[in-house]
């Protein structure tokens, strides 16, 4: 990746609650895409106040970022301070507990208290300002709390409209299905998001993640071969008894967001997504609608699984990057 000049790849913003292992895999996938020059991971924001989980997210970010260097600022994790901290899975605590023979932690993190994290809306604002117009995408893998709050932050809606090409949400069920936990977790926020978000939205429903299970066997093969100590591989092992293949709604959303023209997925016609009182998503087709949802193409599932493994297990590429001055065009979502 060039340090100065050259075409700038899209800025990737990821908001999640890290409630499932899929969200961690999505982070790895985005960093793998960064290594390929398909995006630059800008910031990660969390929608629940859980310092242990934020600490693990920080450790993952440091794992991929590498040591500090000239012009290589490592952003903090954005963390919501309202709401409940939720469950702290062993997926987060077990890797952080690992020590080297000298007693030092295998994975460094610097989150000790809330001051080591940032207000999500402020962080989003600060890092969106470093993106070219239409030069960023946002992936949402959890409840809509942070993004709805961002819409109420002074000046941020206009900034989002200018900088964010599209938002890809892992959530809901399409064309219809049962209510999903990440929507129910903050129903008012989800409704606000679908009603007021100023850019196109593409949703990856639960059916997408279920149809594209992550090849769990790769954790002990490709991941282990790439890096002996890999925080996401450790988390995957600790999350559930191995072997298992996790659903991949957030990974699918991230893959589509960074490579919308790669033909991995089909897209619904344009329309409008709304949420009923029970938290179920409904889709109404309309010609000038700003919402679409992903449709799994059975012919692409093997290709997607291969991309998941290749990208998520990729060896970290230390980033030494400053934004160039010239503009960069982001691929258009397929219609």
């Amino acid at each position: 990746m060039p340090q100065f000049g050259g075409r700038q790849s899209a800025g990737a913003f990821f908001d999640t609650d890290f409630s499932g292992i899929d969200n961690l895999l999505a982070v790895s996938l985005l960093y793998g895409l960064q290594g390929k020059g398909d995006c630059r991971v800008a910031v990660i924001t969390m929608s629940r106040p859980n310092l242990q989980v934020a600490g693990f997210a920080d450790a993952v970010q440091r794992f991929y970022h590498g040591p500090a260097g000239n012009f290589s600022e490592l952003p903090p994790i954005g963390m919501r301070t309202e709401g409940a901290p939720g469950e702290t899975s062993a997926a987060f605590t077990a890797p952080l507990a690992r020590k080297r023979p000298d007693g030092s932690p295998v994975y460094r993190n610097q989150v000790r208290s809330v001051i080591d994290t940032a207000d999500p809306a402020t962080l989003l604002r600060n890092y969106l300002e470093a993106q070219h117009d239409g030069g960023a995408f946002l992936v949402a893998g959890g409840p809509a709390s942070n993004l709805a709050a961002a819409l109420a932050f002074p000046g941020l809606t206009a900034l989002i409209a200018a900088k964010v090409k599209y938002l890809v949400i892992a959530g809901g069920a399409f064309p219809q299905g049962p209510a999903q936990p990440q929507v129910q977790a903050d129903l008012p926020a989800s409704r606000k998001l679908f009603a007021e978000w100023p850019t196109p939205i593409v949703a990856a429903g639960a059916e997408v993640g279920a149809a594209l299970p992550f090849p769990g066997a790769s954790i002990d093969t490709q991941f282990a071969a790439a890096v002996p100590d890999h925080p996401v591989a450790d988390a995957y092992r600790a999350y559930r008894p191995m072997p298992y293949d996790a659903p991949t709604g957030a990974m699918a959303a991230a893959l589509y967001a960074a490579r919308p023209g790669a033909g991995y997925f089909k897209l619904s016609e344009p329309g409008k997504i709304e949420i009923d009182d029970g938290g179920r998503t409904t889709f109404t087709a309309m010609e000038k609608g700003n919402h679409q949802y992903l449709i799994v193409d059975p012919a692409q599932t093997e290709k997607i699984a291969a991309a998941y493994v290749e990208l998520a297990s990729a060896k970290p590429m230390v980033r030494r990057f400053r934004p160039p001055v010239q503009n960069a065009a982001l691929p258009q979502p397929r219609k």
């Binding site: 290589s72 600022e73 994290t117 604002r125 600060n126 934004p323």
Partner: protein, 447 residues
């Protein structure tokens, strides 16, 4: 009820149209038997800006809360640690590259008090009104000078000082409008004459002729001084004497500097009144800040100690290398140690100023108690050019407001402009938003 005549706060000692010396706060300025109705003393605000970041391992203590052992760079402030509040994690996002590429030094200084990202240009200068000038426009009319802008380095206003950023951005802190910076006064003589003269700086020839007939600017106000002394009590007389002695000391030092400079090199490119020695230059300018605050000549000072990207060397410390090149140390221990020593040296000079502020009394408080003296930088790690966790000290309680004696960490990415909002409140100029502020910094006050 009132049994004696009260001396007006804005009394000046005047003489022959050449001198106008403001006075410190005296007991005689308070109405007798009316202490309970006395207005609070005014709050003063100053910024001491240091360039090229700091070595942060020697700046930040490894703890939050009440000060115990101070970190190495701050050791000289040990006598004043109960008067000091160290803030951590404040960020100037507008100093970052965003979409403007290289030029962190030009940007960080330009954005420091303006709170916006300045335009990258050599000719089309675009910043914004700095917050000190917003305050000055509101309260500056209450003092002889709405604000004072001081510096010790290059004051060029044109040319390329950093990767396409005009020198206007690196060589000024205060901005009157988006295209009009307020260049700092570098020459102690110019500042002295501005503070105590009739209002117009003298030409060198006028100064030479005057020096034939007098020894001190105080000689011009002898009559006024004697008259005033006759009406003061013993405490006020002692206070006045100390104050005038401090002015005389500054004046003598300026004269010595001018004589020394003539002998050192008659062709030196600095004006004769500008000391070649860093410590002497700092002491002279900062002494006059203390006097100006004491006499309520101004309530707002910005002091660009040296400018971003400066290659000033510190031979007095045995460091012939330029400051800015040293800060590109690539984490080499030997180079980092030199920067630590420069950082310490700067703080040592600053401590001398704080001592003056602490010693000067104003009613039942010190002048420092009624002030907010910010010592800060626009970069933290100068090697990585980071714009977060900006080194920020506040000395003084801003009029019995700040809870000092501790290190306070705020959430990461908290805008520096949030602190400015709080400071504007303390200066009696409350506004809702400034720059990229998101609210006030919480937890600063005694409450």
């Amino acid at each position: 009820m009132i049994t004696r005549k009260t001396l007006p706060r804005r009394t000046f000692l005047r003489g022959l149209g050449t001198a106008a010396i403001g006075l410190p706060f005296l007991d005689a300025m308070t109405p007798a038997l009316s202490a309970s109705t006395m207005p609070d003393p005014p709050v003063r605000m100053a910024f001491f800006y240091l360039p090229n970041g700091m070595i942060m391992d020697a700046w930040n203590p490894g703890y939050e809360g009440r000060f115990s052992e101070l970190p190495r760079t701050l050791k000289a402030l040990e006598p004043f640690k109960d008067d000091m509040l160290q803030l951590g994690n404040l960020t100037h996002n507008t100093g970052r590259a965003l979409l403007d590429g290289a030029g962190d030094h030009g940007r960080c200084c330009g954005s420091y008090l303006t709170g916006i990202q300045v335009k990258k240009s050599l000719v089309d200068i675009r910043a914004s009104v700095s917050f000190d000038q917003i305050v000055a426009s509101e309260v500056g009319g209450k003092t002889r000078f709405p604000s004072l802008e001081l510096g010790m380095d290059d004051a060029r206003q044109a040319g390329d000082c950093d990767s396409g950023y005009s020198c206007a951005y690196t060589n000024n802190l205060a901005w009157k409008s988006q295209a009009q910076p307020l260049p700092p006064i570098l020459n102690p003589r110019v500042l002295f004459e501005r503070l105590f003269g009739s209002g117009q700086p003298m030409t060198p020839e006028e100064r030479r002729r005057q020096s034939l007939y007098r020894r001190s600017i105080l000689d011009f106000v002898t009559d006024d001084t004697h008259k005033l002394e006759g009406s003061l009590g013993p405490t006020d007389r002692r206070k006045l004497d100390e104050y005038l002695t401090a002015i005389r000391a500054v004046e003598l030092q300026i004269q010595r500097t001018e004589n020394d400079n003539r002998q050192i090199d008659p062709h030196m490119d600095k004006p004769y009144g500008v000391p070649a020695d860093f410590a002497e230059h700092f002491r002279l300018l900062s002494s006059m800040i203390a006097i100006a605050f004491q006499a309520d000549l101004t309530r707002i000072v910005t002091f660009l100690v040296t400018h971003e990207g400066t290659s000033r060397s510190y031979r007095e410390l045995g460091i012939p290398d330029g400051h800015h090149p040293l800060t590109h140390h690539r984490y080499q221990a030997e180079l980092m140690e030199k920067v630590r020593r420069i950082n310490e040296y700067h703080v040592q000079q600053f401590a001398g100023f704080i001592e003056k502020m602490k010693t000067a009394r104003e009613g039942d408080r010190s002048l420092l108690d009624n002030s907010m003296i910010v010592y800060g930088a626009g970069l933290s790690d100068g090697n990585a050019h980071l714009h977060d966790d900006l080194p920020t000290l506040i000395l003084g309680r801003g009029g019995n407001y700040f809870k000092t004696g501790r290190r306070l960490l705020v959430r990461r990415e908290t805008p520096m402009c949030n602190l400015f909002l709080t400071m504007m409140d303390r200066m009696g100029v409350p506004i809702e938003r400034f720059g990229d502020s998101t609210g006030h910094v919480e937890g600063l006050n005694l409450g």
